[in-house]
């Protein structure tokens, strides 16, 4: 029996949602698993935000900047006013979006490596500014405490926190999904594939590129704020290049330009990562991730999402000895 692809996806989404809702029970309220799961959810949101930008053909290597801005703004507002973090997260995202818009304005004419370099440099500069010039408010390199999403006194607060983060992540990804499926998403894809042709058919690249930057920064900022309110501590280390690289790696691994890709990539790599930690590996797990990344880039350029398709292609080639050889389908 052959299941319709869309129906299959719907079932899989339902199953994934079901598992994530039941996770606290399945994991027996384990502190460790819930912690990992919460961080994973924020990273899923973060990589989805990065993916959103990449969908319009702009690959940023400094998305930690927006992650950090969202986290810092939300933390500072929550500390100064005493608002609950649930409200300040929104401000974190909005400020990140605004700064994303400004950076987008400088990046609109840049492509590929040029864009990658400017965004990377922006994160480096921001780290210095936060750590030195703004040290009186941000605590400099020492960092500052951040209010928790939920007070730790509530029994089982970690599970509630998990559900809160889950809800925000799911809603955000739904938003991203709806935007990418709309005409806006089509415009993004058109710009990514060929900017000149897009312009010829009446799409204004500048407007859409700025929109992509703004929305992507917003969600990155929300993700950062969520993670920091969970960890309850923030320091300029958040702008480290490592954090800019993770969403990139997750997205490539799962599949660039798809909704499911960043989610799949983040989940699988987090599980692999934590599993390798269980074996007591420290440096070796980075090496393993690096090797996996290179293998995926070379052999599965469209990520793990395309794995079933690739296997089918490979099988059909094997079945039909006179069929098209490997070189002809390029």
């Amino acid at each position: 029996m052959r299941v319709e692809k869309a129906v299959l996806y719907r079932y899989l989404t339902a199953i994934a949602l079901g598992i994530s809702v039941l996770l606290p029970l399945l994991a027996g309220m384990s502190f460790y698993i819930l912690n990992v799961a919460i961080i994973m959810l924020t990273l899923i949101l973060f990589s989805s935000a990065w993916n959103f930008l990449a969908y319009s053909g702009q690959a940023s290597l400094g998305h930690a900047a927006f992650f950090g801005i969202g986290a810092y703004v939300s933390t500072l507002i929550a500390r100064a006013t005493g608002f609950p973090p649930f409200g300040t997260i929104l401000f974190g995202g909005l400020v990140a979006a605004f700064i994303g818009l400004l950076l987008g304005l400088t990046c609109v004419r840049l492509k590929e490596w040029f864009l990658a370099m400017v965004t990377f440099g922006f994160a480096v500069i921001l780290q210095v500014v936060i750590a030195s010039s703004l040290a009186p408010t941000t605590g400099g390199w020492d960092g500052i405490g951040s209010p928790r999403l939920l007070p730790a006194e509530i029994p089982g607060y970690l599970a509630y926190e998990y559900y809160a983060v889950l809800a925000i992540t799911v809603v955000s990804i739904l938003c991203i999904h709806l935007i990418l499926r709309s005409r806006v998403g089509l415009a993004f894809a058109a710009i990514r594939e060929n900017e000149l042709e897009a312009r010829a058919s009446g799409v204004q690249p500048v407007r859409y590129k700025l929109l992509a930057f703004t929305v992507s920064s917003f969600f990155a900022g929300v993700a950062g704020a969520l993670e920091i309110h969970h960890i309850s501590f923030i320091s300029p280390e958040i702008f480290h290049a490592e954090l800019s690289f993770w969403p990139v790696i997750y997205c490539i691994f799962g599949g660039l330009g798809t909704i499911i890709g960043p989610i799949l990539g983040t989940v699988i790599l987090t599980v692999v990562w934590e599993g390798l930690k269980g074996f007591g590996l420290t440096y070796a797990r980075f090496v393993i991730i690096g090797v996996m990344l290179i293998l995926v880039v070379i052999f599965l350029p469209r990520g793990l999402v395309s794995l079933p398709e690739e296997i089918r292609k490979w099988k059909s080639v094997r079945k039909a000895p006179l069929g098209p050889d490997k070189g002809s389908d390029r």
């Binding site: 590929e112 490596w113 370099m117 400017v118 500069i125 490539i252 090496v287 290179i294």
Partner: protein, 293 residues
């Protein structure tokens, strides 16, 4: 703040010395870019590996570290060829983003592979000349830095001769000007890819050796930032232009040390990106870049 002339000279000199390492890195990157039209963001990891190999051989054998430069360059050249064959050749022509992604993987492998073998502590090597300094006027210039500047100049002259005066150099330049044309006249462009990657890696190794010799601390993570700055330099100087890389390297070395002195050490790394962003706002293709690249 009274501007002391002596200090200004000192800052310039430091910048010149720091610029040497950037120049070597940027020239290598540029050579590879010219021939293969790819960018290896993991170029700095080759510098780091070069630093470790020199340091290890120096500790084991006690040779003068400057003598080890050709050896390290050779070893890294071989490693570079391996990286090109195994990683970059399969993705050649599949899109520019793939290079960035692949380089990320290489960065992880090299950094942590080295950390596995040598540990990730910060280390320092003592050069045999570290106590000697040359007085010029009333300024003391360390002998090591002078040697480093001379060695860099020597390597660059060697590269110039190789590219301009030999058949191999002509083939490399032909490939970088027009790959298809080079194929038509019978140049084995894939061999040129390998050679350019090897030479580029060798230059990174030389930079790593000079880094170690100058008495700077080194650890497995030292390479990423210089490499990204080297890439910023070649964007600034124009992709594929080796004179641009040299000028850009000098500007960066001097600007960084000036910033560190006048604004405080924390600004050292960010000044280079500030320059880059400002330049790119006004000239999206770099200072000497061509349209459409």
């Amino acid at each position: 703040m009274a501007l002391d002339f002596g200090i200004l000279i000192q800052v310039l000199f430091w910048g010149l010395y720091a610029g040497c390492i950037y120049i070597l890195l940027a020239t290598g990157l540029n050579l590879i870019f010219g021939v293969m039209k790819i960018v290896n963001f993991a170029h700095g990891e080759l510098l780091m590996l070069g630093a470790y190999i020199t340091a290890t051989v120096f500790v084991l054998s006690g040779f003068n570290p400057y003598v080890l430069i050709p050896f390290t360059m050779f070893v890294l050249g071989l490693i570079g060829i391996g990286v090109e064959r195994l990683c970059f050749r399969p993705i050649l022509g599949t899109g520019k983003l793939n290079e960035i992604f692949l380089s990320l993987g290489l960065i992880y492998i090299f950094q942590n592979g080295v950390a596995l073998i040598w540990g990730d502590d910060r280390q320092v090597l003592n050069s045999p000349y570290q106590t000697i300094s040359v007085p010029i006027g009333d300024i003391q210039l360390p002998l090591d830095y002078i040697i480093i500047i001379l060695v860099t100049a020597l390597i660059l002259v060697g590269l110039y001769v190789l590219l301009r005066r030999t058949d191999l150099g002509r083939a490399l330049r032909a490939t970088s000007q027009n790959r298809k044309g080079a194929m038509i006249v019978g140049i084995n462009v894939e061999r040129m890819d390998m050679i350019s990657f090897g030479i580029g890696s060798g230059l990174a190794a030389a930079a790593g050796t000079l880094w170690v010799v100058s008495g700077q601390v080194f650890n497995p993570y030292m390479g990423s930032l210089p490499a990204i700055k080297a890439f910023a330099i070649i964007i600034l100087g124009g992709l594929g232009s080796i004179p641009g890389a040299i000028v850009g390297g000098l500007i960066y070395g001097i600007a960084e040390n000036g910033a560190a002195y006048f604004l405080g050490g924390i600004w050292k790394d960010s000044i280079s990106f500030l320059i880059l962003i400002v330049v790119l706002i006004f000239r999206p293709t770099g200072l000497f870049g061509e349209e459409g690249e």
